[in-house]
Each structure stands twice: as structure tokens, then as C-alpha cells.
């Protein structure tokens, strides 16, 4: 716990001072280590849109924090939260889900699509 705060403090300092290119450069390392607390704020700050440069929300993996071990394909309510309006799987950089859980989530969503619990593409 004390680690998190000590890591976060210099991180926010450098993030505000450094150009966006630098934060983009170090993003892969943050993403690689899953929901490492320092990895969370980076994508939000150096995101592709570039909007809200100083708005940084710490994103954490829902499944890690709530200790949801299993991601069953039957739980439509749960999966729906990670599917966009049109039925697309929402990328990790937007939801903050860690690599491991995104992989499981993806599998569950694809299984749910197969049995018509989730749409492949929402009709319009």
C-alpha cells in the first residue's frame, strides 16, 4: 500500500511536466504489468484523444479489486458492462481491466455471443 503512494507521487509530477510523447512511450511497460497502480493513470493522461491532459483518473481492474475470479459466459449482466453499444468489446485502455482478466473477459464475451446471449453486432 505504501508502495502505491510513493510511486504515484513522482509519477503525477513527471506526467504534468513531461510532453505527451514521453507518457505514450512508457505506456507499453505500464500495460504489460497489468493493473499496476502506476500503469493506471498513464493511459488516461496520454490517451489518443489528448483531451483532458490534466484529468487523470486512476483506473483499476474491476475483477482484481472486487475479487471476481470466474468470468462466466452466462453472466450477461457482468459482460454487458464491457461491451459497447454496438456490441464491440471495449478495449482495455478504456476500461482499465488487467491483461489477464481482459483475456478471460474476451473469451467469455465470445462464448456468450455464440449462444445468443450477447449480440455480435447490435441491430440498427
Amino acid at each position: 500500500m505504501s508502495d502505491e503512494t510513493s510511486v504515484k507521487a513522482p509519477e503525477t509530477g513527471s506526467g504534468s511536466g513531461a510532453p505527451s510523447g514521453q507518457s505514450g512511450e512508457s505506456r507499453p511497460s505500464g500495460g504489460y504489468q497489468g493493473n499496476r497502480p502506476a500503469g493506471g493513470p498513464r493511459p488516461a493522461g496520454g490517451g489518443p484523444g489528448g483531451r483532458g491532459k490534466f484529468f487523470r483518473r486512476k483506473k483499476v481492474c474491476k475483477f482484481c479489486t472486487e475479487k471476481i475470479d470466474a468470468i462466466p459466459y452466462r453472466d450477461v449482466r457482468l459482460l454487458q458492462g464491457f461491451v459497447a453499444e454496438r456490441g464491440k468489446i471495449v478495449p482495455r485502455r478504456l476500461t482499465g481491466v488487467c491483461t489477464t482478466h481482459q483475456r478471460r473477459l474476451t473469451r467469455a464475451i465470445k462464448q456468450a455471443r455464440n449462444i445468443a446471449l450477447l449480440p455480435f453486432a447490435a441491430r440498427h
Binding site: K67, D69, A70, Y73, R74, Q111, R113, N114, I115, A116, L117, L118, P119, F120, R123
Partner: protein, 146 residues
């Protein structure tokens, strides 16, 4: 080698309840006669489909949890495919997942014991006493439910 599978299938909505029961009983029969074990049969009821399947927009979802070998599953899938009222099915292997979950649960239980140790130390520190006790009390019900 027997493994744990979940077989979920959708029966067309215009099938009456008795027929549905007969259908499910038939599939259970194929599993048991092949040497498999039915762990659970669950009727998830009628649900709207996320997309149109064979011109149907809703269907009766049925979930079978079985323990069987590959031959039984193959036979069951063949039957599901040829049974006309069944419009969709999916078979998911669950035993690896169960194993993983059991491992996580075991790890979590082991971890809990270690985290309980600082609680024993906490009363020794007079200043920090009220805070750890409160946080531990808040943590414990959450962990019990998890």
C-alpha cells in the same frame, strides 16, 4: 477420461413444457447411457435472443452440467445437431476453470492467515490501535462473502 462440461442449448420457443421436459430427459439419457454423469440440469427459462436464430427471436435456455468423456460429448452434440427443436448449443469445458478457481481460493485462504498476524501485533502499538481494528472488522465480512 471424464471431464466436466457445461452444455447450454436453446430450444425453439414454440415447444410446450411437456415436450421440453421430454427433450431434456432424452439428452440426459444419452449422457448416462454413454457412461457420463449428469451433475445438474437447469432450465434458465425463456429469454430474448441477442440476434435472430432460424427466424426466432427468443428461446428456452437449458443448461446441462455433465461429467463425461469426449465420446459422450461428441454423441450429445451430434444429437443436439440433428434434433430439430434445438436451434443453438454450446459446450464449454469447465474442469480447468474449476481447478484454477480452487487454486485461487486455496491461495486466498492461506493469505488470510498471514494477514491476520499483524492484527495480533496491532494492540501492542497504543496509538494505531483503533484504526487497524476498525479496518479489520470492515474487511472480514467482505472476505467471507468473496
Amino acid at each position: 477420461m471424464d471431464r466436466l462440461y457445461e452444455v447450454m442449448f436453446i430450444v425453439r420457443p414454440d415447444v410446450v413444457d411437456e415436450e421440453l421436459d421430454k427433450l431434456v430427459a432424452g439428452f440426459e439419457g444419452t449422457v448416462t447411457s454413454g457412461g457420463g454423469v449428469i451433475k445438474q440440469t437447469e432450465k434458465l427459462g425463456r429469454r430474448k435472443l441477442a440476434y435472430t436464430v432460424r427466424k426466432f427471436n427468443d428461446g428456452n435456455y437449458i443448461l446441462l452440467t455433465i461429467e463425461a468423456n469426449g465420446a459422450v460429448v461428441a454423441e450429445l452434440e451430434r444429437r443436439l445437431r440433428v434434433t430439430e427443436p434445438v436451434i443453438k448449443f454450446i459446450t464449454v469445458r469447465m474442469d480447468e476453470e474449476e481447478k484454477r478457481l480452487a487454486k485461487i481460493r486455496a491461495h486466498r485462504n492461506a493469505h488470510q492467515k498471514r494477514s491476520a498476524q499483524p492484527v495480533a501485533h496491532a494492540p501492542a502499538a497504543p496509538v494505531a490501535e483503533p484504526v487497524p481494528v476498525a479496518s479489520v472488522a470492515a474487511e472480514e465480512p467482505a472476505e467471507a462473502t468473496a
